[in-house]
Amino acid sequence: MANIASSPSGATPDPKQVNAEAGVDANQIEDINLEQPKSYLWVVRLISVVTIMSAWEILGRRVDPLFMSYPSAIAVAAMDMIKSGELITGLISSLSTLVYAFVLASALGIVIGLLIGRYKLVDVSTDWLVNALYTTPQVAIIPLVILWFGLGGNAKIFIVSVSTIFPVLINTTAGVRNVPSQLIDVGTAFEANERQIFMKVIAPSALPYVMTGIRLGLGRAIIGMVVAEFFTAITGLGAIIVKYGNQYDTASMFVPIFVLMFLGVSLSALVKRAEHWIAPWKETENT
């Protein structure tokens, strides 16, 4: 706080002597202002978590354990499942499918999205297909997927890929369409060829959109994964949910649900991090 008072005097704007430090000082002031409200908000959030969890604990104990469970029972069930290795095995199984299919579909989505956004011919020859497939509810095609791939891992990979690819593809296309034409002019004016325009102007300009697409795709990928695990392969977190559901063991059933929740939150936080790391020029615009 102390250097708030000293910084502005050092950063008086002088058009003849614009120095680099002026910008840095201004950022520091911004950070200091932001810090206080942030920690304050965290306290409120913590209070809210504690209150709701205790309410759940108290009320949950009064309900028939068949219909509802409560935090301490879920914690005990979680310990058992960790000890038996069931949870870890399930998590690894789900996660490996998820990562594999997600990476594959994202890469494919980015490439196709770039082409659709840049080339009108690719666009008009595929837009009806993309729209049709995008709007088809994924669950509706599961019987067909099982016919094609059976109940094994490939069916899972297919469903997760289909869930991921469209948000990535559609956002990438939007990113390419939103490249300011002035920036393409800059490329052209400096003699860039088509490949250079693509790699050095269009791709970086579309990157923030691509990252948004990846984040949305990730959410859908997790849904796709659980749905696939319900209906096809008898592995993974989805299968654990089904198993304990069938055994009427509600507390244990909650464990993989929490893991999925945690997975969703942490993976999308990871992507958000990656966004800041990959597109640092967007940082001050976003926050």
Partner: protein, 272 residues
């Protein structure tokens, strides 16, 4: 000028746009430029001035090769040109810096496209950053720079490919009066140092007189040359406020104003 070699020639250039009429009228043809011809000598600064929409940007983009002309020829050193090339550097009206690149990487952009080695690029960029007075700001991203700093990078980026000709489209019009004067001086200093040929678009009469050897006054609809005015002041020029005190400056200014306003000489002197 002791050296009268023609560096850039614009010969009979015409451009017509088809404009969508929309709901209330038919599509129509907009004749933006009609058989425009002029020459710029080596090391000379020539300004294009004229009312908004008379085709200044269009002409500059044609010279750079960003858009095609309908008729006419652009020659550099006597050779016809149609595409962008490293003999012409473009300074954009809005800085148009690539936001994901640092100031330094923006300056390096043209060299990178040419495949110049990283070491050579960064040396070149550093010396240009220093030339435009931003030696310390190389690692900043564009959004961290002020408008004036961005315009300096815009200029440095064009200078990096070491073009013989600089095409500048109202490079200072978005800036406040103070910064503009500073950058006008900087530009004159850099031009004196590098001996570039400059074609400079502006709609600021004072700026046109202050920086140019000659000023081309364009008329609108279609764009054509009304008059080419020789500026009698030598280089290095006195500062703008001092120059404004010169009666010849006021005389030229009034004359240009009347030309642009389509008023016969002496009828009105609203400009003064």
């Amino acid at each position: 000028m002791e050296n009268r070699k023609v560096k850039l020639a614009v010969e009979g250039v015409s451009k017509t746009f088809r404009v969508k009429g929309g709901k209330f009228q038919d599509d129509f043809l907009l004749h933006v430029l009609r058989r425009l011809s002029f020459e710029v000598y080596e090391g000379e600064i020539v300004s294009l001035i004229g009312e908004s929409g008379c085709g200044k940007t269009t002409l500059l983009r044609i010279v750079q090769g960003l858009i095609r002309r309908d008729a006419g020829v652009i020659r550099v050193d006597g050779q016809p040109v149609t595409k962008p090339a490293r003999d012409r550097g473009f300074v954009f009206q809005q800085a148009n810096l690539l936001p994901w690149r640092t100031a330094r990487a923006n300056v390096e952009f043209g060299l990178e496209l040419q495949g110049v080695s990283a070491k050579e690029r960064s040396e070149k960029a550093q010396s240009l950053l220093e030339l435009v007075g931003l030696g310390q700001a190389g690692e900043q991203f564009p959004h961290q720079l002020s408008g004036g700093m961005q315009q300096r990078i815009n200029l440095a980026r064009a200078l990096a490919i070491n073009p013989a000709i600089l095409l500048m489209d109202e490079p200072f019009s978005a800036l406040d009066a103070q910064t503009r004067e500073v950058l006008q001086r900087e530009m004159l200093r850099i031009q004196a140092e590098t001996r570039k040929t400059v074609l400079f678009v502006t709609h600021d009469l004072d700026e046109a007189i202050y920086v140019s050897n000659r000023v081309i006054v364009l008329g609108a609809k279609p764009g054509r040359i009304k008059e080419i005015i020789e500026i009698p002041f030598g280089y290095p020029r006195a500062e703008l406020p001092e120059l404004r005190g010169d009666p010849r400056f006021q005389e030229i200014r009034r004359h240009m104003w009347n030309l642009i306003r389509n008023k016969p000489e002496g009828e009105a002197s609203a400009a003064a």
